[in-house]
């Protein structure tokens, strides 16, 4: 007892985890496969939830967990290099120890509203990261859901992440369509060219499904408009929001949008909920 290591869990103290392998997805996105030092997943979570990744002495940042909860042995984080923590992470080598705490936030309602429904996933760039967790969960419980459409776009074909999934695994699944698009024409790309929102409109989806959207804020904004145009109602669309976070448990007070804390009440919001929030994200 004297060391102060009481048996209660302090939510702000991370547990040690180790980077088991690093997969380079694109020139600025890598996927880190993380386990407990003694092996196994750090904690259980639900699709769409986040975790704080610590790299002392640089700091901490919150990332969505990219792997599916059905993956028993490890967690994956797809991380784009864009700030000081991510920059540092990208320079780490395999077997380096980092800190992880979580899981934080809510999740996509895979066991409630989504059950038995046709699903439409729309992602842009690194925005595939949180959705991949859901998609793989759906793939592993394929019978519980209806038809799956995945629309995914990036700036160039080189910026598409999780290529194994988007090109091989998912198209090979039953009743699943993957629609890929890139922003501009390029050599060797024979798929669709154009922005994700326009592609969504072109694909003329039936409105008997639930849409899950994630990507850069500007893409989300126009995808939501496109879905509205196609006749989707707001309660059929889920998206994720992201703001600066420090504690991850709704106390430090910086990730709020109105009276909601993204770390605690989000990151997954149904669009009719977002409508209730002030426009500050």
């Amino acid at each position: 007892m004297s060391c102060g290591c009481n048996d209660y869990i302090d939510p702000l103290i991370p547990q040690i985890a180790v980077i088991k392998s690093i997969r380079t997805d694109t020139k600025d996105v890598s996927t880190f496969i993380v386990e407990k030092p003694e092996g196994g997943k750090c904690f259980d979570f639900k699709p769409g939830q986040c975790a704080m990744v610590s790299v002392p002495p640089i700091g901490e940042a919150i990332f969505s967990i990219t792997s599916s909860p059905t993956e028993k042995n490890f967690m994956e984080f797809s991380i784009k290099r864009c700030g000081k923590v991510t920059e540092y992470l990208h320079n780490l080598e395999v077997d380096t120890e980092i800190g992880v705490r979580g899981p934080y936030g809510n999740n996509f309602p895979v066991n409630d509203e989504l059950i038995g429904k046709d699903l439409l996933f729309i992602a842009g760039g690194i925005g595939l990261a949180p959705l991949r967790s859901v998609i793989n969960y759906v793939m592993d419980n394929r019978d519980a859901y209806g038809k799956v459409d995945i629309v995914y776009g990036a700036r160039t074909s080189g910026d598409l992440v999780h290529r194994n999934d988007i090109f091989k695994n998912w198209p090979a699944s039953v009743n699943t369509n993957v629609h890929l698009t890139v922003d501009r024409e390029e050599d060797g790309w024979d798929g669709n060219v154009g922005f994700v929102p326009n592609y969504v409109k072109e694909l003329k989806f039936e409105t008997n499904k639930v849409a899950l959207v994630c990507g850069p804020p500007i893409m989300i904004k126009y995808v939501l408009l496109a879905l509205e145009e196609l006749g989707f109602s707001k309660d059929q669309v889920y998206t994720t929001l992201e703001l600066k976070m420090k504690c991850g448990i709704g106390k430090c007070g910086r990730c709020n949008i109105g009276d909601k804390y993204v770390c605690k009440d989000g990151p997954v919001f149904r669009c009719d909920e977002i409508k209730q929030l002030p426009d500050e994200y």
């Binding site: 004297s2 060391c3 102060g4 290591c5 009481n6 209660y8 869990i9 302090d10 939510p11 702000l12 103290i13 991370p14 040690i16 610590s54 002392p56 002495p57 640089i58 700091g59 901490e60 864009c82 700030g83 000081k84 991510t86 080598e93 077997d95 380096t96 120890e97 980092i98 800190g99 992201e242 703001l243 600066k244 420090k246 504690c247 448990i249 709704g250 106390k251 430090c252 007070g253 910086r254 709020n256 109105g258 009276d259 209730q276 002030p278 500050e280 994200y281």
Partner: protein, 344 residues
């Protein structure tokens, strides 16, 4: 109800400090703040607003979460030993006690903040009622009775003339009182009458206060309407963007978590942060609050709308510190008025 005369107080302090780390409001170079009691402390129970609020006892400006060491690929994390000393704060005003309760709502909600909880448990609070409210006080706007013990007070006291009246509120307070037996005497019938008189006279004093009419309940627009209101443009103009209001505020509780790199190891600490600062919400890809107007709005919307939506209480206790400290006299009272929170 018990009482003690002022001349016996130093004996009381000595007894308390044998068991507790004792903090009292004392005057140092004209600034009154809660400091550790010493023989020569210049204890001042007449100033209502200590310079900083006592929130720093349970939510210090800076505290270490853990030490870390990273060598090569290895990372080790070492928790700190808990401080086990009991502490006692003497003379916390009802508004500040209420603020503790408001912080509890946030920090003791699941998942519980352990550092906070541990400090809260170690602390004993002797509150003191206010019989001479100041011009900048408006606790009554938040239904705080300056002569009544708030929830969470262990002993409630009142200083009237030469006596301090002593009323036990909790088990902690009872234990303390037992420890002080011999020093405290029973209050007489006459004393009780005097207290009643003081209570009666307070009401008229409250009514004369300049901020008596402030009533946040009168703000009746919806969250979105208030957020989009154009009053923010006008009233945020003079705001300098400093953090003095946030840091003197007993209810502001935003914090930052940072790492210190100390050569061969370092520590992660959390420290106060202010939503008034430009980097508060700055992320690698941008900032949702780019101007002072948005940051200013956040602070007051949080106190008057967001927090009440989550906890059914306002996140302001009307202590008036921000009224006194703001370099440009822009404060929550003016904001409440602009939003319509005033009894005409």
């Amino acid at each position: 109800m018990k009482k003690i005369t002022l001349d016996k107080l130093s004996e009381l302090y000595i007894r308390i400090s044998q068991e507790y780390d004792l903090f009292v409001p004392s005057d140092e170079e004209g600034v009154v703040s809660f400091t550790p009691w010493k023989d020569d402390s210049n204890v001042d129970f007449d100033v209502l607003k200590t310079n900083l609020s006592p929130k720093s006892f349970i939510f210090p400006q800076c505290e270490t979460l853990f030490n870390f060491k990273s060598e090569g690929k290895k990372l080790s994390i070492e928790r700190l030993k808990n401080d086990e000393n009991k502490f006692l704060i003497f003379g916390v005003r009802p508004c500040d006690v209420k603020a503790f309760h408001l912080l509890d709502n946030v920090f003791l909600r699941e998942p519980m903040d352990r550092l906070y909880e541990e400090k809260r448990n170690r602390g004993t609070i002797i509150s003191m009622g206010c019989i001479e409210p100041e011009d900048t006080c408006f606790c009554n706007s938040f239904n705080i009775d300056p002569l009544c013990a708030q929830k969470g007070v262990d002993v409630f006291t009142l200083k009237i003339k030469n006596n301090i009246f002593w009323k036990v509120e909790t088990q902690k307070g009872r234990d303390l009182t037992v420890m002080l037996s011999g020093l405290l005497e029973e209050a007489s019938e006459d004393d009780l009458k005097e207290i009643e008189l003081v209570k009666e006279s307070l009401n008229s004093k409250l009514e004369e206060l300049p901020y008596f009419n402030i009533d946040p309940q009168k703000i009746d627009r919806s969250l979105i309407e208030l957020f989009e209101s154009n009053v923010w443009d006008e009233i945020s103009k003079s705001c300098l963007g400093c953090g003095s209001c946030t840091y003197v505020c007993p209810t502001c509780h935003c914090y930052d978590i940072q790492d210190y790199d100390g050569g061969k190891g370092g520590e992660r600490f959390r420290c106060w942060d202010s939503c008034m600062y430009s980097d508060f919400t700055l992320m690698a890809h941008g900032n949702p609050r780019t101007t002072q107007k948005e940051r200013f709005r956040q602070r007051f919307m949080h106190k008057l709308v967001y927090y009440p939506n989550n906890f059914n209480e306002y996140a302001c206790v009307g202590c008036g510190r921000c009224v006194e400290k703001c370099p440009v006299n822009m404060n929550i009272v003016k904001v409440i008025r602009e939003l319509g929170g005033e009894n005409k």
